[in-house]
Subunit: 136 residues, 2 copies
DNA sequence: TTTCTAAATGAGAACGAGTCTCACTCTAGC
DNA sequence: GCTAGAGTGAGACTCGTTCTCATTTAGAAA
């Protein structure tokens, strides 16, 4: 359920999420806010993120490790992401090709109400230069 | 690290996983084995599944709820899945279209070591008939 | 076959992300 | 201003997963 009242906590989450370059976890966001002097509670961060997702003000996805990550995306409609494993930096992608493929393949096998998870992970140019993320 | 010894526990996990139609969780697998009279431990099920994934004897993916699911797939190489939300039944998919798109899009944005998560979820014909999964 | 050793196991403790509870706070409508 | 009740937050709780470590056992060596 989305909230009916405007609180500084809600605004703080929105702001902190907006200034993050890429996807962040609820815990990271909470820590960042606390580090910035806020007294916001973890439960509130979770609640607010959930409500932002509900109203499409934020996107969410599961990290490969199974943690929920959140992002305030510029693109409004349905889209996908290319995410840097090193720094979390994210590129928004539209993928009509994949949308159509998904629907077609689902229908071919008699499936309905088809949903899809499509995320790309890689190493951005900057992180490659820095040697992050991949070097053993 | 993959084990060097053959234990009945390892074989039991392999067998139980093989006879499962679709993706199953470690806990489900453990319960099924216990129900079948086995005394196998939960930690062993987790360890064995991890090692089967390491040797490509099993595929793994994160459920939308963030739980790790496992499957013993018929297809050997890289492929994707169309999974029924109702019964877990799974269709293996090859998707050259998506493989190429993924590489191309990644390269276009200067990313390297591109990996991708591509899973389709839907309702299979049988479950739709039964009214599973979607009806409120 | 018997012996030996370290790999493997499993019960239970520990961990961590996320949810829930409920007394307290503060927004916003009057 | 008052006030109802939406929103908050500390901390308890859930649950998937990993860790610990005493015990078992696969399998190589004798
Ligand atoms: Mn899509
Ligand atoms: Mn692929
Ligand atoms: Zn990067
Ligand atoms: Zn089904």
């Amino acid at each position: 359920m989305q909230p009916k009242r405007n609180t500084w906590q809600r605004e703080a989450v929105r702001a902190s999420l907006a200034q993050a370059r890429g996807f962040v976890s609820a815990q990271q966001l909470h820590q960042a806010l606390r580090d910035g002097g806020s007294t916001i509670g973890l439960a509130t961060v979770y609640r607010t993120l959930a409500s932002l997702v509900e109203t499409d003000e934020a996107d969410t996805l599961q990290s490969p490790e199974g943690e929920s990550l959140y992002r305030s995306c510029a693109t409004k409609g349905h889209h996908h992401h290319l995410i840097c494993r090193g720094c979390g930096d994210t590129v928004e992608l539209s993928a009509n090709l994949v949308e159509e493929w998904s629907q077609r393949v689902g229908a071919e096998h008699g499936f309905t109400e088809i949903d899809h998870v499509v995320d790309l992970f890689g190493l951005c140019a900057r992180c490659r230069a820095k040697g992050d993320g991949a070097a053993a």
